[in-house]
Symmetry: C2
Subunit: 376 residues, 2 copies
Amino acid sequence: MESNIYRLIAEDGLARRGEIKTQHGKFQTPAFMPVGTYGAVKALSPRILEDLEAEIILSNTYHLMERPGVDIIKAHGGLHNFMGWNSPILTDSGGYQVFSLSKKRTITDEGVQFFSLLNGDKRYLTPESCMQLQLDYGVDIAMVLDECTPYPIAEDAAKKSMQLSLRWADRCRKAFKTENASLFGIVQGGVFNNLREDSLGELIEINFEGYAIGGLSVGEPKEDMIRVVNHIAPMMPTEKPRYLMGVGTPLDIVKAVEAGIDMFDCVIPTRHARNGYLYTSKGIVKIRNSENKNNLEPLDLDCTCYTCSNFSRSYLHHLDKTKEMLGSTLQTIHNLHYYLSLMRNLRVSIEKGTLQTFINKFEAAWNNADSPNIVK
Amino acid sequence: MESNIYRLIAEDGLARRGEIKTQHGKFQTPAFMPVGTYGAVKALSPRILEDLEAEIILSNTYHLMERPGVDIIKAHGGLHNFMGWNSPILTDSGGYQVFSLSKKRTITDEGVQFFSLLNGDKRYLTPESCMQLQLDYGVDIAMVLDECTPYPIAEDAAKKSMQLSLRWADRCRKAFKTENASLFGIVQGGVFNNLREDSLGELIEINFEGYAIGGLSVGEPKEDMIRVVNHIAPMMPTEKPRYLMGVGTPLDIVKAVEAGIDMFDCVIPTRHARNGYLYTSKGIVKIRNSENKNNLEPLDLDCTCYTCSNFSRSYLHHLDKTKEMLGSTLQTIHNLHYYLSLMRNLRVSIEKGTLQTFINKFEAAWNNADSPNIVK
């Protein structure tokens, strides 16, 4: 892959409207990546994702390593063929899962030894093996193996963790030999601005095709998250993609776009959908609430998604009560449509130079969501 | 509805190729109706059903009475609007569910008193209330309330049950006042040819828009089922639709089409799909079997469905292992495509006068299905 995969199309304040090139086509930024942990976005077929105009999805290196295993994906000629998705795929490094899900793990400079969440077997992940997995998956964008610094943590410990991640990042860069995919470095350093700056500086020295902000949304107060993003995003190279990992709510995303972030992933829209928490222009609708039982209106009168065009809240409530999996599908369609429409609106606003107006309206609408059916 | 909703297009032996007219359009026969018990065909959206070229679906009067309840369906302007399906719908009468699922029930000439399977509350179903429910759902084809005669049963008891169903059928006919829908009578009489004949004769006297064979697939030997269908189907009025309720396997359907049946419904394709039993041109594939783990081929090389066009057995096996609901969706698409293609092939064969050749080939292929991966 040539080094520069990012093309800047427009700016509005710190916010950027761009396009990122991969071997499986381009995608427009700011972009939201639906999460397909096991090589499937839960409850959706690739065809529906295409209908929703999702342009890139995220999958999980660790989960795919467990099931189906890298050999089966390789035998299919890569993850794209395996899951029937022909647009870009980004994989995380698996580090986050190892650190957040596995209780017993041993971290050394070499890598991390842990126990399978599936069957308790011993597993190893090193920067080199992590790169090999992602190369074997054949993804478009791979992420370096990093230690996800926990919260809360003392500055000294956060620094040590960040430095370990840097040594691993260097080894990842050396191990990632391909013309077909890009590798992103991950800025760590907890909630400490100075550590974040150090991390970013060193990663830029190593040189990646893009840079991500990791280790946020791990329990820190939301103000800390926003402060770190606002501090570090504008320092990230302007000619390369900027990715805020695992974030977040619609408001989080709007704030981060304002700070200059280009890429996002989060399980919120898909997971919330399956649990009946649905994003609308008036706030969140909890479809399980009994007031929806007789509500003949769609989830959102302003929404043009398949679900809102064809079904009432009452029907969705009924599908939930009767445990029909169609409910999860229709609700996931709606929530992803909400997120992907938000990204489209953000892109258009940046192009027009009206981002601040859009954000003000969006925040106001969100803050005025006061129907009894709605959680702010 | 004018009395004659059936148009005969071609005949081949006893088999019939026809078209049935409803207020929501026509459908071609022989037809298979996917089952949407709670106003949703499990794991599929109406859009997918349209892609599959399903032309009519079946829903369940009793289940809809429990959830969401008739008032909510009426408020939506009927079941079509409620579930977002604009093609024909047939509802069963609920009788089968009451008799097969409810342990404590009291049958009198008036009707049946039973206890809700949902919450144990007392429920009543009379011929009149059953008709009112189906009228309120706004379906295209309603079924009379009947007593589903159990198996095994003595001839005398089968006769009494059949006679009760006839008295109810008469009351259903009187109570079903509409220009917008058709009402079908249901032939009962267990495995006794003479009782079946009596039942049919009396139903014809009452006069329905179509006639169904009920009370089969309730535990009787398959030979008895085939014998009854072969005996009674050719006696059913030629100018009206003939519907074999709750049947069956692909071979059952082929046999019944040969005997002159026009309509079928069955949960087999959809339920089997969710359990990983998948119909192919070579027999049934059990996707959970470990030999599918590394199988890069589609379920059926001869199949053109979305699933077979895009995904390997290995991927479906993986979705099953990881409990991704996409697996149920993709597998339901495949099994329904199998059933609906079978019906298309039967229709074409009847038109061409080559049904016997088709049946011989179909049976031979089924009987030769001897791969270790396949259950006959």
